[in-house]
Subunit: 282 residues, 2 copies
Amino acid sequence: MTSQPPVSPGRIVAIGGAEDKTSDLEILKRVFELAPVANAEVAVIASASGIPDQILPAYQAAFERLGASRVHALDIQDRKQAADPGNVQLIHQSGVIFFTGGDQLRLTNVIGGSAVLNAIRERLMAGAVVAGTSAGAAALPSTMIYNGASADALRKGSVNMTSGLGFIDYLIIDSHFLERGRFSRLMQVGATNPEYLGVGLGEDAGVIVHPNRVLEAIGPKHVIIIDSRNLARSNIADLSMGEPVAVENMILHAMVSGHGFDIEARRYLVADELKALLADNQ
Amino acid sequence: MTSQPPVSPGRIVAIGGAEDKTSDLEILKRVFELAPVANAEVAVIASASGIPDQILPAYQAAFERLGASRVHALDIQDRKQAADPGNVQLIHQSGVIFFTGGDQLRLTNVIGGSAVLNAIRERLMAGAVVAGTSAGAAALPSTMIYNGASADALRKGSVNMTSGLGFIDYLIIDSHFLERGRFSRLMQVGATNPEYLGVGLGEDAGVIVHPNRVLEAIGPKHVIIIDSRNLARSNIADLSMGEPVAVENMILHAMVSGHGFDIEARRYLVADELKALLADNQ
């Protein structure tokens, strides 16, 4: 975490889970197209998953269909494998690094502080795209949610948080957001620290985090923004654990594909505004 | 519906469902205490329910425990019974009129335009309390939601609405709100007409609508307010049915017991502010 948000040349893409892998591949196509020119190798990291062998083939097939020259299914299930030079080498070859779903705590526990993670950071600074879906999306920022009730989560301490992979600062990502009705947990998170923007990703929806810290919504479903910066009052600091949290004045947006949000300016962007802002910063 | 919201001398209480009926009776106690002095008869209307015989005994026991002199379980399952002079008479005797849960469309279909509903309106104007839980809460305002998806409801036309019982104007009530993750459906409703305040009631939570159109949150769970009056932009009018709705700038509050909300001023009230405002208007 830095006081000044770092600007990475590469794009970060967070996906809410259940993205289309067999039909139009709308989101995965955008991910693949964000890779640097002449770097069509993809690394898929299924460390979050307890059943990597069951989920990896679908990603291999999807990225191959999109034109990947090679898809590396990295076998990283423990910290030893996360330090393995062979895996590090495959990261260095890849223009897309993709984290699957599963359990975000398993993911951070296995790759946090590892040589593989350092290599991914280097790749991002060199212009590669780093993407994650579901648990893999939740783990992308410097702080992440894990476990915790989906509904009725507006009780002090009902959401568990810890440090994430550190690719984005001042942002909390939640996935399966509309489908599992997770609004109340991002509200509680916003009350704990209003500086952090809540980003709730629907299934088959995602955001591209552009280098100028502008979000672009992609996919057929919704991206919800919960902005607590102008939070007026909350009782959260005075409560015992488990008591209901009061919240006054959070701002709520629902973005659809092509709309955007300027994180620093806290400004919603319709399609024309987003295009203009991204063109200015290319 | 009137252009000037009517002020009824009696209180209206909307409850999110699953209110405690056997332990502390926190919410039902407040309902009963709001009845006019020396009018301890309670009318319970289970028209919304397909299984009235199974749900009425719990309400009878609860209100008797609270001190009701008589609890009338009104047998109103069709429009003929809703016109029955005997049922009208029991309403006229009662200081509390309580609508159970079930299906709000069944409730409005059976009692809409009936002699029983007219009698309830008269009782409210004479100071009686009119309360409803779950479907019985959703049906209280002039416009109500029925059916419709709970999650991923931010698609044009995915929420069905029709006219409610007309006890409160410019307000939409949704129940089981946090438990079923219904935020997106009140967001869609707010986009259709930003004048209407969205009130999302958690289970075992409720609001008292005071005569000065101030809401008071009651019960151990949350009341969520979604205020769309300052909605900036939405694509809803340009969409085909089923397409995802974009929403810019709704205000979100979470109220706990003792906090309030001034509907006309769109102002959140912490406990002291609510007390002062209610004292001014007694």
